[in-house]
């Protein structure tokens, strides 16, 4: 029972993705002697890095606050002496 619970827990946390065997071997070679302990941890790292970069580009034109918010904030910053 205990084992089953653990297994189910792990299944929820990790899943597998297929990559070509030559690529797998190339990565395996590449990470030798680095801090990466497995091809999986390397692939995870690289994917997170790329996705974060893509998300950053997508967000550049998003306005995080309205024009009215901005004016209200500017009034306060002016009153506090942060801006002229």
């Amino acid at each position: 029972m205990g084992k089953l619970v653990t297994l189910m827990g792990d299944e929820k946390k990790f899943t597998s993705v297929s990559i070509p065997v030559p690529l797998f071997k190339k990565v395996e070679e590449r990470i030798r002697g680095t801090g990466f302990t497995s091809v999986s941890s390397y692939v995870t790292y690289v994917l997170r890095e790329i996705i974060a970069e893509e998300e950053k580009q997508e967000d550049d034109d998003k306005q995080p606050f309205s024009k009215e918010d901005e004016e209200r904030v500017k009034d306060r910053l002016r009153a506090l002496g942060y801006i002229d």
């Binding site: 974060a52 950053k56 967000d59 550049d60 995080p64 918010d69 910053l77 506090l80 942060y82």
Partner: protein, 384 residues
Amino acid sequence: MVMRQRAHGGRLIDRVMSPADRERFLAEAADLPTFEVDGTMAQDLANIAHGVYSPLEGFMVRDDFLSILDHNRTVKDVPWTIPIVLDLQPEVLPDLSPGDRLAFTYQGKPMAALDIDDIYGFDADEYASTVFDTTDGSHPGVAKVRSMGDRLVGGPIMLADEMPSPFPDYTLWPIETRVLFKEKGWRTIVAFQTRNPPHLGHEYVQKAARTVTDGLYINPSIGKKKKGDFTDDVIIHTYQELIENYYLRDRAVMGLLQAEMKYGGPKEAILHAIMRKNFGCTHFIVGRDHAGVGDFYTPFAAQDIFSEFPDLGIVPLFFKSFFYCKRCGSIANEKICPHEGEDIVNFSGSKIRGRLVEGLPPGEDMMRPEVSRIILDADTPFVE
């Protein structure tokens, strides 16, 4: 066009009630189960509501709590290292259940609402050893975890009223710092976390970081501290004086972070970086023994941990400690000066503190005279 820093998780969180929702909440609050929060918890409520902890919208539910302990990420794969939780002793409000609304009061007045999604237990030793890397009760973070109630209550919050800030003129929320940086025309902003008055070593770290960025955001964390720490008042006034006398006025500003130190070393360094990202900063200074306490963490553990987060979204700037080198005749560090031993005068925090405790200035080769004067003139420079 000024590029804006993305909030952590993608969206700057705003959990402040509209005036109408606030009226409704204040009217219903008397009939809700209530929980009186202390100053630290009130700060956390305000931080959540104003997006300092984006993407958190409230106190963590079990899945996020466990996910963070397991691999330093929320269930949505967003980097996060220290759980933000609400704990209750079992005898407090024993009848709460998911779906209930709880009213937080601060100093007797309704402050915020929590819509409960989850109530769960946790293992204090597992929490302590995962977050603080020790279960030694002399670690203040571990002691705090051990003193927590054994039920955690998770769910989104909504803020009705601000807590009174002891330093309202320096209290800036992420939307305010973001507008401020935009108005200044800064595209890259480096944040400096501190809990001490500045000595020359701090000043040089900040100035070195500033030379590669457009602006410097000095962000002292104020709030509950250990006995013997410098008081918030002294930290703020010494920085005011330093900026006034030694910084480019257009390139450096100070605002406060109201958050309790957790002394979590590397994991707290990540949390510190996330909060500064939410303030709109693009870079974050990490020096020696960041957010450490005693000998619990190796001097540069708080720098090493950043390599686990390629998607953190804020660039850490790592520094070795600065010192005064008599042979170079300048302030330097081991990356730029080859000398050692007798040639080197370290900016030792404990040496500086020792002088100040005796009522003596630490010397102008360690601390600006304007800074030491403020500390020596203060009635209570240290937390008692």
